[in-house]
């Protein structure tokens, strides 16, 4: 497969880009923020997403979805990134779908159609501390009655306070097991926090939460692979969204360079800024290619996907960080004001960079996967 969008994908992009730009531009985020929206996203917008079939893009056709791949999901995520659109798309339609589709079984049968129909919002309860350490899960699931009893604390759970179901990673006797914990389960408390980018992420407490045996996603003790699928999909998706954030910030900044005058010149005429903008362009292009490669390898089910996913998350993190930093700096004083959008890009970038492993985590993974 060549590493560019084929005709179908290009068509998808041509329909998604104007849709998101019109329905959920940055002003949409501002409105939710300024009205202190308590959901974290617009349910009306999600309904519009549903009309276009987006929530079920990655859901297999057998479960009522479109059976598309990560390359296609990435197209949507890039536009979400470019417009800073608050949306449960990444956790629900990418991360949760990847896990459920990989696992199959009861929970897949129950939730995948509900995701595809736009009815279910799913949260991913993986992290436990302030940093992403999925190899050190201490939430426990102990056998109790017909099922399990879950105890632990989860953090950085996007949409955790409104999700219809949360995928919870827990330690079981022989490994890691993933559980589908429904919204109304007793003993679950979600304490939502407003983050720097105005999104809401919860600290989730699981205090003796009892679930049936069939709440297990996949098999008991065999959640490692499913968790890996969830992580690979979510990381790649977050990277695609960051490419959108970085590209949006860069485009806005390049436009500004062509408009703002200082010392009797357009500031874009100054070679110092030209070279930095050109360097940034190169970094963004590299990041974009890395993300597409990760999407391609995931879609192919390739062995090499895991390495490329970490490369993509790290590289997109670096490039988008550069884009928002250069963006604010090149905008000068007005870039520091809440009135201008560039600062909002910096905030969203920071949250995405941290989500599911930051640059440092993934560079370290690259080293480990290469045996050093």
């Amino acid at each position: 497969m060549p590493l560019y969008h084929n005709d179908d994908q290009a068509m998808l992009k041509d329909s998604i880009a104007p849709f998101v730009a019109e329905q959920a531009p940055v002003s949409h985020l501002r409105k939710l923020r300024d009205t202190a929206d308590a959901t974290g996203f617009s349910r009306d917008l999600w309904a519009q997403f549903t009309e276009m079939g987006l929530p079920g893009m990655l859901v297999p056709e057998a479960h009522g979805g479109l059976g598309m791949g990560h390359m296609e999901a990435g197209i949507v995520l890039e536009e979400i990134g470019r417009n800073l659109t608050p949306s449960p798309f990444l956790s629900t339609s990418v991360g949760a779908v990847a896990a459920l589709a990989k696992a199959g079984g009861t929970q897949a049968g129950r939730w995948l159609p509900a995701i595809a129909s736009g009815e279910a919002i799913i949260a991913l309860a993986i992290d436990e501390g302030a940093k992403h350490r999925p190899d050190r899960i201490s939430t426990t699931a102990t056998r109790a009655g017909n099922g399990f009893r879950l105890d632990g604390k989860k953090s950085f759970v996007l949409h955790g306070h409104v999700a219809d179901m949360s995928i919870v990673a827990a330690k079981t006797d022989g490994g890691i097991t993933l559980f589908a914990v429904p919204k109304d389960a007793k003993g679950v408390t979600a304490d939502p926090r407003r983050l720097v980018d105005s999104s809401l992420a919860s600290h989730v407490t699981l205090d003796g939460v009892e679930v049936d045996a069939d709440a297990v996603i996949g098999e008991v003790d065999a959640g490692g692979d499913i968790l890996d699928a969830l992580l690979a999909a979510t990381r790649t998706g977050a990277a695609a969204e960051m490419v959108g954030v970085g590209q949006g910030a860069m485009d806005m900044t390049v436009t500004y360079l062509k408009e703002r005058k200082q010392f009797g010149k357009l500031i874009g005429e100054f070679q110092g800024l030209q070279h930095r903008a050109a360097h940034l362009y190169g970094e963004m292009e590299v990041a974009r290619a890395a993300v597409m490669k990760a999407q391609q390898l995931l879609d192919e089910g390739s062995e090499g996907a895991k390495l490329m996913v970490s490369v993509a998350k790290a590289k997109a993190g670096r490039a988008a960080n550069l884009a928002v930093r250069e963006g604010v700096q090149m905008h000068g004083g007005i870039g520091m004001t809440d009135e201008y959008d560039i600062g909002l890009y910096m905030k969203r970038d920071r949250a995405l960079a941290e989500y599911m492993g930051d640059v440092h985590y993934h560079i370290d993974q690259v080293a480990r996967m290469n045996g050093y």
Binding site: K131, S155, F156, D338
Partner: protein, 393 residues
């Protein structure tokens, strides 16, 4: 040396007796800073006591002459006072643009009368000043400013607007660059002083990405300024401004110079835990923090060297630009690392545990470091031109 030793002993005893324990706690946030001024409300009795004690000794401006409210200390004595205050972690009794900026300008360019008139209230924290330099259309190209003072014989009538006036909504007076000759770009600007309560002055806070509003837009609508209220010469305000910009840079950049050698990696080691080799348990972040610490410790040495040379006239006049450039870029990098170190917790914007998103807001605030007081790009231009003598720079 024994005279200085005696002075040190004296200072130490005085501080022991006069600096309230509450004033030896680290500054937690903006609220712990004493800015003074007509509208000032002390946050607590200790803050008031500490300011008054210092005012009585001239210690708010220790190196200013006694006639202007200072203590008339020599540079060596001033250094000792600062060392001793740092030793007991005493807070600054008074922060003030009057002390940092207008004061040095008046000491350099003011008449004797102006010095007595303006410096004493600054030293006592009675008048709070703000600075009116930038304008919406100017920015880095400061000298293109448009705010105009029309000559009306014994006064000017000032019209225009300023942006990035720090705490203009809380200040009593403003020192302000005003064009008084439209035909002459550099030699057509006057450095004026006027009361913010003058009719025609209005301010509007600017909401920043950090969620705070330390700056304002300030509008002048037929503001009358007596023709006695200027510093230096009429139409030669740019000389004063340039002098002050150097001073501001010195302040912004020198800020770190006397600071502690606090290691960012050391500060985060506990949160992350350590591996078997005693290393902070996030190897790549550890490497970045260590590289940063190395740069910061080196920069601190430069801060010390810069201050030592500056005070004795050995520094290149433009070296404050270099200090400002390097220092502000480092500070931005520090806060990127602080955010990484804090992880998802540091992303929280208004939770109690994070003191209302202190880390996130602080991180965003630092992005202005390399813009305010001359952008990094302007600093680099100045270094290229004035230090490296590159052509056409």
């Amino acid at each position: 040396m024994s005279e200085l030793d005696a002075f040190r002993t004296e200072v130490r005893e005085w501080l022991e007796a006069n600096c309230p324990p509450e004033m030896r706690e680290p500054v937690r946030d903006e609220d712990d800073i004493c800015w003074g001024g007509r509208k000032w409300v002390f946050k607590n009795e200790a803050q008031k006591q500490w300011l008054e004690a210092c005012v009585s000794k001239g210690y708010t401006v220790p190196d200013w002459p006694k006639a202007y409210g200072g203590a008339g200390l020599t540079p060596e004595q001033t250094k000792i006072l600062k060392q001793e205050m740092k030793r007991i972690k005493a807070r600054s009794p008074l922060d003030s643009f009057g002390i940092w900026m207008l004061g040095p300008a008046l000491l350099q360019f003011g008449t004797e009368e102006q010095k007595v008139q303006y410096l004493n209230p600054i030293a006592r924290g009675e008048i709070r000043w703000c600075q009116g330099y930038s304008e919406p259309g100017s920015g880095s190209d400061l000298v293109s400013l448009q705010t105009f003072g029309e000559d009306k014989g014994d006064h000017w009538v000032v019209n225009g607007s300023k942006i990035w006036t720090s705490y203009a909504d809380k200040a009593d007076w403003i020192f302000c660059l005003v064009r008084t000759d439209k035909a002459n770009k550099y030699q057509g600007i006057t450095f004026m002083l006027f009361d913010m309560e003058s009719p025609g002055v209005t301010t509007k806070p600017i909401l920043l990405i950090s969620g705070n509003s330390p700056f304002c837009e300030t509008f002048f609508d037929d503001v009358k300024v007596p023709k006695t209220q200027y510093v230096g010469e009429i139409n030669r305000g740019w000389d004063v401004a340039k002098y002050l910009l150097g001073h501001e840079r010195e302040m912004i950049s020198g800020g770190g110079a006397g600071g502690d050698m606090v290691s960012i990696g050391g500060a985060f080691a506990k949160a992350f835990g350590k591996n078997a080799a005693g290393e902070l348990d996030d190897p790549i972040l550890r490497a970045e923090m260590a590289a940063f610490d190395t740069d910061v410790f080196a920069y601190r040495a430069m801060g010390e060297r810069f201050m030592d040379m500056w005070k004795t006239g050995r520094a290149h006049p433009a070296s404050s630009n270099m200090m400002k450039y390097v220092g502000t870029e480092l500070n931005k990098r520090r806060h990127e690392l602080v955010m990484s170190g804090g992880g998802s917790e540091a992303l929280e914007w208004d939770s109690e545990e994070t003191k209302g998103g202190a880390r996130a807001r602080g991180w965003l605030r630092t992005k202005a470091n390399s813009i305010e007081g001359g952008t990094s790009e302007v600093m680099l231009n100045v270094i290229a031109k004035r230090i490296l003598d590159l052509p056409g720079a």
